[in-house]
């Protein structure tokens, strides 16, 4: 891992959330300064803030993107007890000329009486739905029945969790195999020793969400919760950020064995538990294939966890600050090293040893071990070709020449308009 780029965020207060869009070409940030900013990546790879607007009358905790099938849609939630849905307007206005885009509020969801702590869009196969949770202990599920009219959202479900809620996660598994499912975490710190992570499942018959499981072993405040993308597995994987990082597997017990009609029951196993953050863990999130979990904690580090091919979970990477405070106002890209020179530990690991020997850096060097660094040996003269096989740049491999398909799949171009009758 290496830092490829840094961008001056220009928020006037703490940033609470950063969020990539589905393709990783846009991002959104939200802050205690009550605003949301949207950033776009240009063809050259630079990031530009294309919109910044006041969204709430309190700290904005979370910002999240809807799937692009629904257009360019954001949801935010705030201390001001509301969640809001935003849509980008494509217009010919001056904004576009200035490289700015325009976002309009489509709805304000005002059902909560307390701070709305999390907002998440449902998996796209369920349509345009979102869930919020709030400090009043209620998870609310909203739906926009008409994806072309985002000002209409109906409150579909209110799920009472009995405990102040801090985080929610939809199970991304496909609907055919699994009914919709939401995991909810609570950071309620009152002394009652209730379990702080619950799982609710949608029941086709009652058309309601019912509690499927409570993770009894999770009794400390939960700050974040995340289902992993399902790689075609029959079971689910759930990560929880509490006083440590925990990874659970939830294996549905076959329906015939349980009383029919009731919620699915699960065999729950804890497969990993790490206290490397030393104290509270605040965020957990899976990469897009669900093979790496990242967690962020009180130690100020982001840690990456991965199971090897024998299913042993291990910490494989750490992102941490180098401690030095930021000097002045760093402009975008000012700290961008040129591509290919981003491995700082290589530059000082030169040891002027005799040529012809490959040196590995000593193990205690700042993890240059991920690299072989050494003084380059005198390069041999061009070796005789080992085989007849040519090493010409095989650019043909990059293309999939199917001329016929190409012409078929080209969308039809608009033609000049003809007069109607």
């Amino acid at each position: 891992m290496f830092v490829a780029r840094s961008i001056a965020a220009d928020h006037k207060d703490l940033i609470h959330d950063v969020s990539f869009d589905f393709h990783g070409r846009r991002m959104a940030t939200c802050s205690s300064d009550q605003s949301v900013k949207v950033w776009d990546k240009s063809e050259s790879g630079d990031w530009h803030c294309t919109a910044s607007w006041k969204t709430h009358s309190g700290s904005v905790w979370r910002v999240t993107w809807a799937h692009p099938e629904f257009g360019q849609v954001l949801a935010s939630c705030s201390f001001d007890r509301t969640a809001a849905v935003w849509e980008e307007i494509v217009g010919e206005s001056n904004d576009k000329l200035r490289g700015q885009s325009h976002w309009v509020k489509r709805t304000t969801l005002v059902d909560s009486r307390t701070s709305v702590t999390d907002v998440k869009f449902a998996p796209k196969h369920m349509g345009l739905m979102l869930a919020t949770c709030s400090a009043d202990g209620i998870v609310r599920v909203y739906e926009a029945p008409d994806v072309m009219n985002l000002s209409q959202w109906s409150l579909q479900h209110e799920i009472s969790c009995k405990l102040s809620c801090s985080c929610i996660s939809w199970n991304p598994s496909s609907s055919r195999a699994h009914p919709p499912m939401i995991a909810v975490g609570s950071d309620d710190s009152s002394p009652n020793a209730m379990a702080k992570a619950q799982i609710f499942e949608y029941n086709e018959n009652t058309r309601k969400y019912a509690k499927a499981e409570t993770l009894m072993t999770v009794t400390d405040p939960v700050h974040d919760i995340a289902f992993a993308p399902n790689l075609g597995r029959s079971f689910h994987i759930l990560a929880i950020a509490t006083k440590d990082v925990r990874i659970f597997t939830l294996k549905p017990v076959r329906k015939e064995l349980t009383s029919s009609g009731g919620p699915t029951k699960f065999e729950i196993h804890i497969v990993a538990q790490f206290d490397n953050h030393n104290s509270q863990v605040w965020r957990v999130s899976w990469n897009i294939t669900g093979t790496v979990l990242a967690s962020s904690g009180d130690d100020g580090c982001v840690r990456l966890w991965k199971a090897n091919y024998m299913d042993n979970w291990k910490c494989t990477g750490i992102l941490k600050g180098n401690g030095s405070p930021v000097s002045g106002s760093s402009q975008q890209g000012s700290s961008n090293p040129p591509l290919g020179s981003n491995v700082p530990n290589l530059q000082n690991s030169l040891n002027g040893s005799s040529a012809g020997r490959y040196f590995f850096p000593p193990l205690d060097s700042p993890r240059a071990g991920s690299r072989w660094s050494s003084y380059a040996q005198l390069l041999p003269p061009p070796p005789p070709p080992l085989v007849e096989h040519s090493c010409d740049a095989d650019t043909a491999n990059l293309q999939y020449p199917h001329p016929r398909r190409r012409s078929l799949s080209r969308p039809l171009n608009p033609l000049p308009e003809n007069e109607g009758v």
């Binding site: 001056a8 494989t316 690991s349």
Partner: protein, 656 residues
Amino acid sequence: MEELDGEPTVTLIPGMNSQKKQMCFDWGPGEMLVCETSFNKKEKSEVVPGCLLIYIVRKDVDVYSQILRKLFNESHGIFVGLQRIEEELTGKSRKAQLVRVSKNYRSVIRACMEEMHQVAIAAKDPASGRQFSSQVSILSAMELIWNLCEILFIEVAPAGPLLLHLLDWVRLHVCEVDSLSADVLGSENPSKHESFWNLVTVLVLQGRLDEARQMLSREADASPTSAGMCRILGDLMRTMPVLSPGNTQTLTELELKWQHWHEECERHLQDGTFASSPHLESLCKIMLGDEAALLEQKKLLSNWYHFLVTRLLYSHPTVKPMDLYFYAQSSLDLFLGGESSPEPLDNILMAAFEFDIHQVIKECSIALSNWWFVAHLTDLLDHCKLLQSHNLYFGSNMREFLLLEYASGLFAHHSLWQLGVDYFDYCPELGRVSLELHIERIPLSTEQKALKVLRVCEQRQMTEQVRSICKILAMKAVRNNRLGSALSWSIRAKDAAFATLVSDRFLRDYCERGCFSDLDLIDNLGPAMMLSDRLTFLGKYREFHRLYGEKRFVDAASLLLSLMTSQIAPRSFWMTLLTDALPLLEQKQVIFSAEQTYELMRCLEDLTSGKPVCGEPDPQRLQDDDVETTKVEMLRLALARNLARSIIKEGSLEGS
């Protein structure tokens, strides 16, 4: 890379203070966002930060290297070829093919190394020069390891040929000798060159005895006093028995001859033949495999594995594969002499000499920064059926695990992802689902790129991804008011609801502007028209306009009528259709037959009689509207007149 063992890699985020703050982050398809925050939520933070930075963190630096890109591109072709090697091939031909594949991989590494070296030399600033140089040595180490693995695991050379292979290996990788040789021979008086004896020694150390003899003859020519000694040593070099590929002699014969030759060398040394020339004596000792003499040449040997091979050459030329590890270990110990400890490369080579494939891969995984090497090497060794025979119960999983890692890395890159597709294809367990998750994240920045992605999905029958991509593009087009594009994408997505929505937009546009856009598309809908009723109507309605335009009034008229009678036309559109009928009714010749006219009248009455139809616009509104009333009156009049004319015409025709 440290998935297998080893410590986690630490990535420092400059300017972030981990002591005081925490980090919030998000995963993207190929990158991570990281940003300083404080999770103990408070409405107002005490300290307003001066300048907040958002960091973009990437996983694999090598993916972005222009030169390594060639490595990825070319090895991709070799990889795909290897997957297609027919399983039936057995024995020698299969082995030969696998060795060829291995050599192909190595030549790609070499080519890449050369280029990197050229770039390193040409680099303007020292920092990037060092950067490239270190890349060169990484590539060089990769090739060194791969070559050894090829000899030991793929070629599986037996005693005898084994040493010849190892000699080639050392000659290929310790190659200062060639520049040294050019240097010395290029000088005016080679035998007086300061490096002359170094050159001769290196040649002997590498077993290049013919060249060494030629050098000795120069020395003999130059200094008559030592000519005799040089000739004797040259003869010893010439007579050293070696296994030559075409020779049919058995190992035992060779060993016998070699023993004899060894004794002769020994005798010369004992007799003090070379006593007057320390250089020649030292060479003789080397040829006797004298460890002390060899270790004196540490600098020329430059590393322990060269020492190992030279030592074997002159003391155990018929070493068996199983005994290699013993000699390797003792050579390493002798060479390092307790002065330094073995480094990762040493451990990897040692693991190879020990025939511990798993350990080789594991150590490489830890030591290398990219997955290219381990993924391809493991795959090749898997094709050699080596992972199973070593009883690694997770053998094929390890292959897949490493290939998945490598392919995922490629997907972080804006164009290399296309190579990654094939790697996923050859991962039977999780390849398909990983590809599905990765491919839908490819930014559809241009239509061309979208088509490329779609083609990949369609070739693999990934219907859900195809649908989703088309839907995203359709939505994008609608948002930008490109209705034609939106319609063709929703047809491709087979999204009936969205096709209906877009068709409605088309019809609305028509009502507002009196003309259609995207005629070419609508005229050529074909069977796609059946996707949704509204789309069918749109297509048929446009057909009516075409017939009308072509003055085929009779066909146009009956089509128009059928649109209403068959209920394809939405009721809200009937008035428009009836209005379209007006000019036909007003034509000089009779177009609508009497029966058709009755049908039209019925439609009009249906529409105006206030028959409640759920979901349709309130007919009340029609009557309230003055314009509409006038229109209805005009229609009634036109219909009545047409009816009259058609009755007369039909009557007179029948009467004639």
